[in-house]
């Protein structure tokens, strides 16, 4: 029986974070919720694993973090995209599209032609 919530492919979490932050600064919990809702509850990241990825991306200069107040008036750390982060997203998005297109072509091709 297939898993209800499949694991993310390696490297895709960073791409999803870059995508979600296109709309503006968010804290970690909001990002996790957005990914889950946008994928119709299919992609459910292990929320904890989001934080080492966020800190790594901040260190690479793709994100910039600062403390702010959440909607419930609580201190939370907000992340926003830098210029480098935006450029990185475009590159990753193009690579992903190329990858999925190639996979789609293979899946729709007639196996008889390989004989």
């Amino acid at each position: 029986m297939p898993k209800k919530h499949p694991d993310l492919l390696p490297g895709t979490l960073e791409m999803l974070v870059l995508r979600v932050l296109q709309g503006g600064a968010l804290h970690g919990y909001a990002m996790a919720r957005w990914i889950q809702q946008a994928s119709d509850e299919v992609l459910q990241v292990e929320e904890g694993s989001l934080y080492p990825a966020l800190h790594r991306m901040e260190k690479r200069g793709w994100l910039q973090a600062e403390w702010g107040l959440s909607e419930s008036n609580r201190r939370a750390k907000y992340y926003r995209l830098t210029r480098t982060g935006r450029a990185r997203f475009k590159t990753q998005e193009a690579q992903w599209e190329g990858y999925t297109t190639a996979i789609g072509r293979v899946l729709s091709a007639d196996p008889e032609g390989a004989q």
Partner: protein, 351 residues
């Protein structure tokens, strides 16, 4: 790493961890709040939020590693550096220790060499009985008695002898024999007195003196003993004189060889003082019949007193091999005293 650096790293590490925990706590609070708002009881909401988040401590550790990666790497590099430096210090200390040990060995070797050299000189000098008083001038040296009939029994002792014992021929023979024993015990300084005793009218006194001379006599004593060998009326004394002269010559040859070996060392050992070289020269003179070649080497010594003394001795010998050296010294030596001594020595060749 300095203590300030350690303090900074520790402070930084604590601040980073506090920041991570606060961020995670905010996340969990929001997750719990959402679940409670959806109608879940708080306890279950907290449990589910934690389950969805994963192992908090593992996540905190992973975040800390990302944040402090450079510091951790730097710490490891510094620890490695400290370890390498410690090993280098230990190796250096070991090498220093080994080098010091080698230096000590070399020093000990030098000390041993020096001690051996000193022992060699002492051994050489021990063969010579150094008189308490300086050697008498050549004119005052004991000359063999004239070859006449009054040779035996005509000797007269000097009033005050270097031996410190007056020879009184008026004493009874037994007393004179006792005096000969005492003289023999005094060594080389008693030779002049023993030479007088060897011409005593009493045959037993002469015999005792000859035996004593065999023990302590020098080459000058041999000249007297040679005459006794042919002229003494008693065959017993003649044989004793012959044996004594032979013993002295044998012993003196050995002494001279040893001393000359020591003299070579002294001449070619520049670290020895001029006083030591002068003393060695005096010892050669004390033996009598020193080698001309050794005296010529001493005549070229850097010290003016050693040269003067050597020139005087060469003059006494008047050996043909030394003439050229004396001529050269009489003209070229920088010191007037040496030149004058050489000129006087050359006069002996004309005699």
């Amino acid at each position: 790493m300095t203590s300030a650096r350690w303090t900074w790293t520790l402070t930084q590490s604590v601040a980073v961890e506090a920041d991570i925990r606060e961020e995670i706590e905010a996340h969990l609070d929001a997750a719990v709040a959402d679940r409670i708002a959806a109608g879940m009881d708080p306890e279950r909401a907290r449990r589910e939020a934690l389950a969805r988040f994963g192992d908090v401590e593992r996540i905190v550790g992973a975040c800390r590693t990302v944040k402090l990666e450079e510091h951790i790497m730097l710490q490891r590099a510094l620890l490695a550096l400290v370890a390498i430096l410690s090993i280098a210090v230990v190796v250096q200390a070991y090498q220093l220790n080994a080098s010091q040990a080698r230096m000590n060995e070399a020093l000990a070797e030098v000390r041993n060499d020096f001690a051996a050299a000193a022992e060699r000189i002492e051994t050489a000098l021990l063969f010579v009985e150094v008189p308490n008083n300086p050697p008498a001038p050549r004119e005052e040296l004991q000359e063999p008695p004239a070859e006449d009939d009054s040779f035996i029994g005509s000797g007269e002792a000097p009033a005050e002898h270097p031996s410190g014992i007056d020879w009184d021929s008026s004493q009874v023979p037994e007393v004179r024999i006792e005096v000969v024993s005492e003289l023999a015990a005094r060594g080389a300084s008693a030779v002049p007195s023993l030479l007088v005793a060897a011409q005593d009218p009493d045959v037993l006194v002469r015999l005792a003196a000859v035996e004593a001379l065999a023990e302590v006599g020098n080459l000058r004593a041999c000249r007297v003993l040679d005459q006794l060998e042919y002229k003494d009326p008693e065959p017993l004394v003649r044989r004793a004189a012959e044996g004594a002269a032979a013993r002295i010559r044998e012993r003196t040859t050995l002494e001279r060889e040893t001393l000359e070996e020591g003299a070579d060392f002294i001449i070619w050992e520049p670290k020895l003082s001029a006083a030591a070289r002068f003393q060695a020269l005096q010892d050669l003179h004390a033996i009598g019949d020193p080698s001309v070649s050794t005296l010529i080497e001493f005549a070229g010594d850097a010290d003016v007193f050693v040269r003067t003394s050597a020139v005087r001795m060469l003059g006494e010998l008047a050996h043909p091999d030394a003439k050229a050296v004396l001529v050269e010294l009489s003209k070229l030596d920088p010191q007037a005293i040496v030149r004058e001594e050489a000129e006087e020595a050359l006069l002996r060749y004309d005699d």
